[in-house]
Each structure stands twice: as structure tokens, then as C-alpha cells.
């Protein structure tokens, strides 16, 4: 199996503590992290366009004021931006899972997420993305 390294993690979450701690977690593993308190902040950041050729992953919170996580996913899909995305949510039922997956997410995890599970999911998502 080809080894996959992640070069950039984007975090979009409106909860300051969740965002900051997720950033701390990935930085502790030596990754570059960019975090955004809202979907609009993420879309407004020109630097996100530099990611061509990088191995990136988006960690996206679903419940946010303003543009929701699902809406951001749909927006990315419409703009034909292919960014492997892991959605994090407080509650994940089968219907929500289906909707989020249809909108283009690669995985859906329920909070609080165990960091081993998160790392494993990101690895899997990037592998699936590379295989497409």
C-alpha cells in the first residue's frame, strides 16, 4: 500500500474550543492547519486556492450559524472543487449520513471523536480520494 502523507488540514467549526483543540492536535502531529470559524471565512480565504497538488483534508462541522456544513459541501460540489471532507456532528443518524454523503462528504463522525478514529478516517478518506 502506497503511504499517504497529509500536508494540510482545513478546519471549519464555529466552536472556538473545538477548533483550537483540533488545531492543537494536528499541529502536535506536525501538520499544517488552517482553521475558520465559519463556512464564509473558509470560502473567503484566497490561500485555500493554493492547495493544488497538496494532499489536503477538510474537517467540517455540520451545525453552524450562517452557511451550514451541508450547504458548504453543496457549494463546493457545485463549484467542482474536489476536497476530501470529513464531517463532524453531534448526532449522526442514517438519514443525515445519507444526505451528507450525497452532498459529497467522504465520512461522517460523531462528536466527541476519538483521535485514533479521526486519524484513521482521514487516512482512509485520502486513500479513497487518491484512488478516484
Amino acid at each position: 500500500m502506497k503511504s499517504l502523507s497529509i500536508e494540510m488540514i482545513y478546519i471549519v467549526d464555529d466552536d472556538d474550543a473545538v477548533r483550537d483543540s483540533t488545531r492543537a492536535l494536528f499541529e502536535a502531529y506536525g501538520l499544517t492547519v488552517r482553521d475558520y470559524p465559519s463556512a464564509n471565512h473558509f470560502l473567503d480565504d484566497d490561500r485555500t486556492r493554493e492547495r493544488d497538488g497538496l494532499s489536503c483534508c477538510l474537517l467540517l462541522d455540520l451545525h453552524m450559524p450562517g452557511m451550514s456544513g451541508a450547504e458548504l459541501l453543496e457549494h463546493l460540489k457545485e463549484s467542482e472543487i474536489s476536497l476530501p471532507t470529513v464531517v463532524l456532528t453531534g448526532r449522526a443518524d442514517a438519514q443525515l449520513r445519507e444526505r451528507v454523503m450525497r452532498a459529497g462528504a467522504r465520512a461522517l463522525l460523531e462528536k466527541p471523536v476519538n483521535s485514533e478514529d479521526l486519524a484513521q478516517t482521514i487516512r482512509q478518506v485520502l486513500m479513497d480520494h487518491a484512488a478516484d
Binding site: 466552536d15 474550543a17 473545538v18 483550537d20 483543540s21 483540533t22 492543537a24 492536535l25 499541529e27 502536535a28 502531529y29 451545525h63 463532524l88 453531534g90 448526532r91 438519514q95 443525515l96 444526505r99 460523531e110 462528536k111 466527541p112 471523536v113 476519538n114 483521535s115
Partner: protein, 377 residues
């Protein structure tokens, strides 16, 4: 021969007695023939429906019904005569009637079947459920049920909100712990190794707290297991006739546009009926403030797999400051309202994987619409 009060009536008296019975009955009595033409129409009907006998006799009974029953009624009779499957005959149920002035009112209709010689006839007895007494007791029942469902929903909502709020800090705690462990992982100082072990335990306790929340939420959500596949039109129709109890004085014209080709929808029928009840009663209240009082209720099925029901009123519309926060608890236009009705509707509909929306009509008034996913049985 004895002719005292306890003797049976004679034939001649019977004919007169029949007239007296029919025309002094408080309930409306209508007899139709096998193709739906009205053969008998008593005095009470005149009061209930507003038409004089000469306007109705010999004509199709469907003129006394609102759409879509007006268009469907001939088919109902035909279906019964070919299949003998009883939907209302011998049973009776709550339906909507339409007055000559166009207003609709809820009534309890029981239908019997009989033969005059070899001609088949149907006898309908109409009990106006808007009468004061009935109104009071029915309303009480409905309100008790609504209160019960509201309590359950509030509990569910609170649990969901609590779960969400607690999961955020728990996620942060877990992340900080793992980040801290990773940050010091390169050092093998015995104190750091001990601290690592403690952080492991702290992470374990964090996971445990998360598990408790999950179990609590599962417990509250278990009661949603009463879902079954239901006919959306029928579900809505029942709720509307309940919601319009007591609304006939309000002189509201209800227009029903039901799509007859909606597949069965997986739902908790009682909960969806509570949503309909809420939306219709809100509309009825809004309509009190205007002179043109119409409520159009439409159902349909969208290509994307959602069934919908919309409730469009000709009321004064929603003030902007209310419209933007409509589904939040404790937002209301009513002087005495708590403002929880729509937030409960919202939580019921989203609990079904659906959406509830409100839009302003071009010609004034508001349209509420809920969509429910149709999932194959």
C-alpha cells in the same frame, strides 16, 4: 281496536310521522340514489348547508362537498358498488362539508345503505361538530394530546440540545489531551510517562461522558419507533377536520388540493397531525384579522423523493422581525402565545428527516410548507 298512545301507528299516520321525524331531526339527513343524486334533504340540512331543498333535490350530492371530494365522490360510490369495500358506510367519520357561502365546516358523517324495492339508496346523517358542547370537549381532548406531545418533544429537544452542547467541550477536552500527549511523547522522563498514563485515563473518562450522553439521547429517541407508512392525504384530512372544529363561525373557506398519487410516507402519524393542527390553527387565527379568509391546503410529491403539504393563508402575513426567527422557541405574534408551537413543529418535521419552511405570499399572507422524505417500504 285500541288507539291509545301506546298503540302502533297506522299506515296513514306512518307517512305523516316520517315527515315529522325527518324534519324535526337536529342532525342533517340526506338520501341519495345509486348514482349520487339527492332524493331527500331535511330541514336541518338547510340550516347546516345553506341550500334550499329545491336547489339540491335531484342534483349530485357532491355539490355539498369541498374539493377534492367534490370531484372524487362519484368514484367513491362506484368503487363501493364494485368492490363492496366499506370505507365510511356503517362506520362514519369526521369530514369537511361546504356551505353554500363557500365556507367549510367539520362534521361527523355516518352513512347507511338500504334498498327501496330494488333500488339501492344511501342515507347520510350529518352531525355538525362545531356545536358548542362538542367543540368544548373535542378541543379539550386535542389540547390535552397536544400538550402531551409538546412535553415529549420539549424533553427530546432539550436532550438533543444538551447533548450537542456537552459534546463540544468533550471533543475539545479529548483533542487537547491527545495533543498534549503527542507534544510530550518524545520525552521519556518517568514523570512524563506517569502524566501520559493519567491523560489516558482522562481521555477514557471523556469518552465515558460521551457514551452517557449518547445513551440518554437514544433513550429519548426510542419513543419515535412508532413510525409506520401512512397515507399523507388521509393523515392531513383527519387533522384538518379536527383543527377546524370551532372555526365555522370564523367563516373561513378551506380549499383542499390533494395529489392522489403520493406514495405512503414513513411517519409518526400523531406527531405529523400535531404539526398540521398547529399550522391550521395558526392560519385560522391569522385570518381573523382580515376580510378575505381563505386557507389553501395542498399536497404533492416532488421528483427528489419528498412529499409535501403546504398551508397558504390570505392573512396579514408575518412581521419581518418575527419571520427571521420564526422557528426559534418563544418567538410569537400572539398576545397570549408561548411561541413554542412552530419550534415544536420544526423539531417534529426535522425528526422525520424533513423540512419546514415559511414564505410570504405575493398577494399577502403566508405559506407554511413541510416536506417529508418518501422512503420505500
Amino acid at each position: 281496536m285500541k288507539t291509545g298512545m301506546d298503540a302502533p301507528f297506522k299506515d296513514a299516520e306512518n307517512a305523516a310521522l316520517f315527515q315529522v321525524l325527518i324534519n324535526t331531526a337536529v342532525d342533517g339527513i340526506i338520501v341519495i340514489d345509486a348514482v349520487g343524486n339527492v332524493r331527500l334533504y331535511n330541514k336541518a340540512c338547510e340550516r347546516l348547508l345553506g341550500y334550499a331543498p329545491e336547489e339540491v333535490l335531484g342534483r349530485n350530492i357532491n355539490m355539498l362537498m369541498p374539493s377534492p371530494y367534490r370531484e372524487q365522490h362519484d368514484n367513491y360510490i362506484e368503487a363501493y358498488r364494485t368492490t363492496s369495500e366499506r370505507k365510511i358506510i356503517g362506520i362514519g367519520r369526521e369530514v369537511l362539508g361546504q356551505n353554500k357561502d363557500g365556507s367549510t365546516f367539520p362534521m361527523y358523517l355516518s352513512v347507511g345503505e338500504g334498498w327501496l324495492g330494488n333500488e339501492q339508496i344511501f342515507i347520510g346523517i350529518i352531525h355538525d361538530t362545531t356545536e358548542r358542547q362538542v367543540v368544548a370537549s373535542r378541543l379539550q381532548e386535542v389540547q390535552a394530546e397536544l400538550a402531551h406531545v409538546s412535553r415529549l418533544n420539549e424533553m427530546g429537544q432539550m436532550t438533543s440540545a444538551l447533548a450537542h452542547e456537552l459534546n463540544q467541550p468533550l471533543t475539545a477536552i479529548m483533542n487537547y489531551l491527545r495533543a498534549a500527549q503527542r507534544t510530550v511523547a518524545a520525552f521519556d522522563d518517568p514523570a512524563i510517562v506517569r502524566a501520559q498514563g493519567m491523560m489516558d485515563k482522562a481521555a477514557g473518562q471523556t469518552a465515558r461522558a460521551g457514551e452517557i450522553i449518547r445513551r440518554l439521547r437514544d433513550f429519548v429517541e426510542k419513543r419515535d419507533a412508532r413510525q409506520s407508512h401512512e397515507d399523507l392525504n388521509k393523515t392531513i384530512e383527519e387533522a384538518i377536520s379536527l383543527a377546524l372544529v370551532g372555526a365555522s363561525d370564523a367563516n373561513i373557506k378551506a380549499v383542499l388540493k390533494f395529489d392522489q398519487n403520493i406514495p405512503p410516507v414513513l411517519m409518526d402519524r400523531i406527531q405529523i397531525q400535531q404539526v398540521v393542527l398547529n399550522l391550521v390553527r395558526n392560519a385560522v387565527e391569522a385570518l381573523q384579522e382580515v376580510s378575505i379568509r381563505e386557507l389553501t391546503i395542498e399536497t404533492g410529491f416532488e421528483e427528489n423523493g419528498y412529499a409535501y403539504a403546504s398551508f397558504s393563508d390570505t392573512g396579514p402575513g408575518l412581521p419581518d422581525e418575527v419571520a427571521s426567527r420564526l422557528f426559534q422557541p418563544f418567538v410569537t405574534t400572539k398576545e397570549k402565545g408561548m411561541g413554542v408551537g412552530l419550534s415544536i413543529c420544526q423539531s417534529i418535521v426535522s425528526g422525520h428527516g424533513g423540512l419546514l419552511s415559511a414564505t410570504a405570499n405575493e398577494n399577502g399572507g403566508t405559506t407554511f410548507c413541510f416536506r417529508l422524505p418518501v422512503i420505500d417500504a
